[in-house]
Symmetry: C2
Subunit: 210 residues, 2 copies
């Protein structure tokens, strides 16, 4: 049985996180082959680890050449489901929500922002890129119309849980949470927390030691 037949593909969490990085990097470069050694150097890890990571994918390298990059990109794309297009919506048209709505890199990941919502009457109707800001009363319609399964939460922490509840009620299956609050959701709902400020704590910790 080939690994292709095993579904879901299991990869350990640390491996999965590294595969994401390899993917982002490999999509950018325009070469035929890359060795585990070269890739490892890029990310300050050991080449053995790169090879081990790739054993979870249905791909093998060539001795003396390395791994075929287009093949790697394709296999990784399958793992991440980037070839299946998903529509997504953003709730919260503040600085961060607006920046995400205008972000150009989503296409490569197979996602598209179809609407942005806010509850501030002053923002509703205004434009963020090509999207006009909608009131929350439009949520249900948009979700049904575009078969949206993913919602991004970009609201202040006080309202994050409330918005999460609403999204779930309206049929959203996965929440990408940019607020710094841990959300309470039913087990069937996927939550991915993206705390964009936590990195500064690592930096300050290291700097403080110097």
């Amino acid at each position: 049985m080939s690994k292709k037949d095993k579904w879901p593909i299991y990869v350990p969490k640390p491996t999965f996180e590294r595969l994401k990085k390899y993917y982002a990097y490999l999509m950018q470069i325009d070469e035929d082959y890359i060795s585990s050694d070269e890739l490892a150097k890029k990310f300050n890890i050991k080449p053995e680890q790169v090879r081990k990571d790739f054993t979870y994918l249905d791909i093998t390298g060539k001795p003396k050449k390395g791994y075929h990059i287009p093949l790697l990109v394709e296999e990784l794309g399958k793992l991440f489901g980037t070839r299946v297009l998903e529509n997504l919506i953003i709730v919260g048209a503040g600085n961060l929500g607006s920046a995400l709505a205008k972000y150009m890199g989503f296409e490569k990941m197979g996602v598209k922002v179809v609407a942005i919502f806010d509850n501030d009457p002053k923002k509703i109707g205004s434009f963020v890129g090509e999207l006009s800001v909608l009131p929350l009363s439009f949520l249900e319609r948009v979700i049904k119309r575009f078969k949206v399964r993913i919602g991004i939460i970009c609201v202040p922490e006080e309202s994050a849980q409330e918005v999460a509840n609403l999204l779930i009620k309206k049929g959203i299956k996965a929440i990408w949470n940019f607020s710094p609050v841990p959300l309470k959701v039913p087990e069937t709902i996927i939550v991915e927390n993206q705390d964009i400020t936590s990195g500064i704590l690592t930096i300050k910790h290291i700097l403080a030691k110097k």
Copy 2:
């Protein structure tokens, strides 16, 4: 010897990442005590893990009550160096850079954005919040004047490495990299990568399996 005397405080990486989350959460809530069990429930982990994590800090809990929150916040603040103010600069006044420049949550983390730079003549001189966008020729002056050690990179991937080199040349000690490229830097320079789009790959992977 108390743990306070050991410097640098060593914490395993996974523990460190969890401590950041506890910190963000604990700063928000207004209670006296919290038990390892309550905290664990919030983050879907085991209470033993929370207690183990806290053993790395110079703090103990009280049987039957739990951990004193203000004390936790203080100890964690020390670990992350949030009580020492650091000035930081942003390079790249696009959507994301501008959003970060206007971000209100930095103060709590003991950092302040003192300047934002761009090389686009159309952007230079325009305002992002209260800051006017500066040309890169001002970098050196600003870094010296404000004793800046941390620089945020928010430029397109093509120029990320170039900007990193420039920042390092001008004396920056730590780079918070919001571009999706792995940067090549000398060993003495701290790099924290904050790929804000990688979360979507996790979500799509899980959704694809359903």
